[in-house]
């Protein structure tokens, strides 16, 4: 099955709803049910760890976004929110441009909000503001819709999608231990769903030649691993979970420190919620009632 036919199947069965924009889709109740059940499965694995749940809307402060350095690494993926801030005359011109089918966006000005690129981005400044970390460090559980400007016909590469993340903040030992445990748990969890998987070292899609260097550094240092499941093709399996060790990057950027003043290390495990759901639809078909009994039992109990 090619990518085109998978997305056709998803549209024709009403699992996803077309909008005319690649990577921007409506979700059916059946699709959301699978997301809910997978969320519950994640909680079954990680819920006992005592993570603090935090929820941010899918936008972050532009000031924080600027400080985050995202534009250094991923300028091609960012989405800024703009709005009309003109007067009556500007409004008239805007309406005339719309009427004539001309570019009407010249008067749009940036707001103080940027679309969230990863669920954990708004977390770090909030943690830094809360003061010194306790000895046990911190563990958070967050979910957010995220935006990445990479339109594609592959249903697994959406522009607006949900990411659930557990974020560990603490000593290097604490965060590395956290990542190791999720590498094991992640494979166990996807194994329970009967999906074929591989785990591989990976890199983020850093921009440009400097990005090539950052990507190579990240791979050489084993900072990012992905759990991949074939969805669009066997040759290019899709990253559905990712396990990231940021070292001191966010700790030193935002000033997150322990009681003794040492800079905190951070790591996260991210779940691509739509990607896992799509893997299930791809492997087991568009009718969730007809999914294998074992898989249904894991998800629905």
């Amino acid at each position: 099955m090619t990518a085109a036919t998978l997305i056709d199947d998803l549209f024709s069965s009403g699992i996803l709803i077309e909008t005319g924009v690649d990577g921007l889709y409506g979700r059916s109740g059946a699709f959301e049910e699978v997301i809910d059940r997978f969320n519950a499965l994640i909680t079954r694995f990680g819920g006992g760890d005592g993570a603090t749940r935090v929820h941010f809307p899918p936008g972050i402060s532009r000031t924080q976004f600027e400080k985050s350095g995202y534009m250094k690494s991923f300028p091609q993926l960012a989405g800024t929110v703009h709005a009309f801030v003109g007067n009556d005359a500007d409004h008239c011109r805007l309406l005339a441009q719309l009427q004539a089918g001309e570019d009407w966006t010249e008067g749009q000005k940036p707001t103080d909000i940027v679309l969230t690129p990863a669920a954990c981005y708004p977390l770090y400044p909030a943690v830094a503001k809360a003061g010194a970390l306790p000895d046990a460090g911190k563990l958070y559980d967050l979910t957010s819709y995220c935006f990445r400007h990479e339109p594609s016909k592959e249903p697994t590469r959406m522009q607006l999608f949900r990411m659930r993340e557990f974020v560990r903040i603490g000593t290097p030992e604490q965060v590395r231990g956290f990542r190791e445990s999720w590498l094991t748990r992640g494979q166990e969890m996807i194994g329970l769903l009967g999906l074929p998987l591989t785990v591989d070292v990976a890199n983020d899609p850093f921009f440009g030649r400097a990005g090539k260097m950052l990507a190579n550094n990240q791979r050489d240092s084993g900072l990012k691993f992905e759990l991949l499941i074939p969805v669009n093709s066997e040759e290019n399996p899709t990253a559905c979970l990712s396990f990231n060790y940021h070292q001191e990057h966010f700790g030193s950027l935002w000033g997150i420190k322990g009681e003794g003043g040492e800079v905190a290390h951070t790591a996260c495990v991210g779940f691509g919620m739509e990607r896992v759901a799509l893997a299930l639809f791809k492997h087991y078909g568009m009718d969730t009632d007809a999914w294998p009994e074992g898989v249904r039992k894991v998800l629905w109990g």
Binding site: K72, A210, K212, M213, L214, N216, N217, Q218, D220, S221
Partner: protein, 81 residues
């Protein structure tokens, strides 16, 4: 060559420590060279020596020590001159 590389370090703040405290073979990452600083270092070297690092050199090893940098720069300047 190594002296010119040391001058580039001295003019910039890639490291939290003075380059004069480091030996030619000392690990720059252990000395505090971050990923982002290594990119800035790469760009500064390209400008100073009028070279362009090929993709095969865009990795940690190429910038791991002053001696490693000198070897890469030496290779590029000898083939481009």
């Amino acid at each position: 060559m190594q002296d010119r590389i040391r001058e580039i370090f001295a003019r910039n703040s890639f490291l939290p420590v003075a380059e004069s405290t480091l030996g030619a073979e000392d690990d720059l990452y252990k000395a505090g060279l971050t990923s982002f600083a290594s990119v800035q270092l790469m760009l500064a070297l390209e400008e100073a020596f009028d070279i362009e690092f090929p993709e095969r050199m865009l990795n940690r090893r190429s910038f791991a020590s002053i001696a490693a940098i000198a070897a890469c720069v030496g290779e590029l300047t000898s083939t481009t001159v």
